[in-house]
């Protein structure tokens, strides 16, 4: 399943629990305030870097640009809306709201 997270990992535990629950190999999509989880140099970055060993992680480009996030953790795949639609078509979705 595709796990989708839209809240900041520094204000909620949504991304943390998602990474705990999601089985190895499950793709993680960060969108809206969830894209702060893709930012380099934050208190959460180490946790996400560790998750990249087990999951493909995607971040929505429009949400990164909106928030001025330019330093994205290496290995996170930045996707546009077409990529977003492609992922949702390809997988069943577990919205981790």
């Amino acid at each position: 399943m595709l796990y989708m997270v839209n809240k900041s990992p520094l204000m909620t535990h949504n991304l943390e629990t998602c990474l705990t629950v999601a089985p190895k190999g499950a793709p993680i999509l960060l969108y809206e305030d969830g894209v702060y989880g893709a930012m380099e140099g934050t208190r959460f970055s180490g946790r996400l870097q560790a998750a990249l060993e087990h999951h493909p992680v995607y971040a929505l480009e429009a949400d990164l640009e909106t928030r001025g996030i330019q330093r994205v953790i290496e290995g996170v795949q930045v996707i546009d809306y077409d990529g977003f639609v492609g992922l949702v078509e390809e997988h069943d979705v577990a919205p981790w709201l």
């Binding site: 839209n6 809240k7 900041s8 520094l10 204000m11 809206e32 305030d33 702060y36 930012m39 380099e40 140099g41 934050t42 208190r43 970055s45 480009e61 429009a62 949400d63 640009e65 909106t66 928030r67 001025g68 996030i69 330019q70 330093r71």
Partner: protein, 118 residues
């Protein structure tokens, strides 16, 4: 005259809080009340440079803050631990701010007395 703190703790585009806090602080300043802005937790993201919400068809929120002193806003304060936790420094922000540690943040809130949360 009341001394007001507008306390911003939410990230900018994921909710209406930042935009509404901005509107409120303008309104308070226009009525010549003594108001300062304080950014804590994800609120510090509101001041990040290079925000571009064009693809979301929204207004950029960060670039409005530097004009607030013209409307009478007397100070901009940022909780330094919140900034550091997010991998940001003052160079990443759209305006010059005064940094606060935990104790000086608590002291500022206590000295001003009226805290409006956004």
């Amino acid at each position: 005259m009341k001394k007001v703190v507008v306390l911003m703790r939410k990230a900018p585009y994921g909710s209406v809080y930042t935009a509404e806090g901005f509107r409120s602080v303008m309104g308070i300043a226009i009525f010549e009340m003594d108001v300062v802005l304080v950014f804590v937790d994800d609120g510090v993201y509101a001041l990040a440079k290079d925000q571009n919400p064009e693809k979301l068809d929204m207004q950029p929120l960060g670039e409005g803050f530097p004009m607030l002193p013209e409307f009478g806003v007397k100070g901009f304060y940022v909780h330094q631990p919140s900034l550091e936790t997010r991998g940001l420094s003052v160079d990443d922000l759209v305006i010059d701010v005064e940094l606060l540690d935990d104790a000086s943040l608590a002291e500022l809130l206590a000295n001003r007395g009226t805290v409006l949360p956004f």
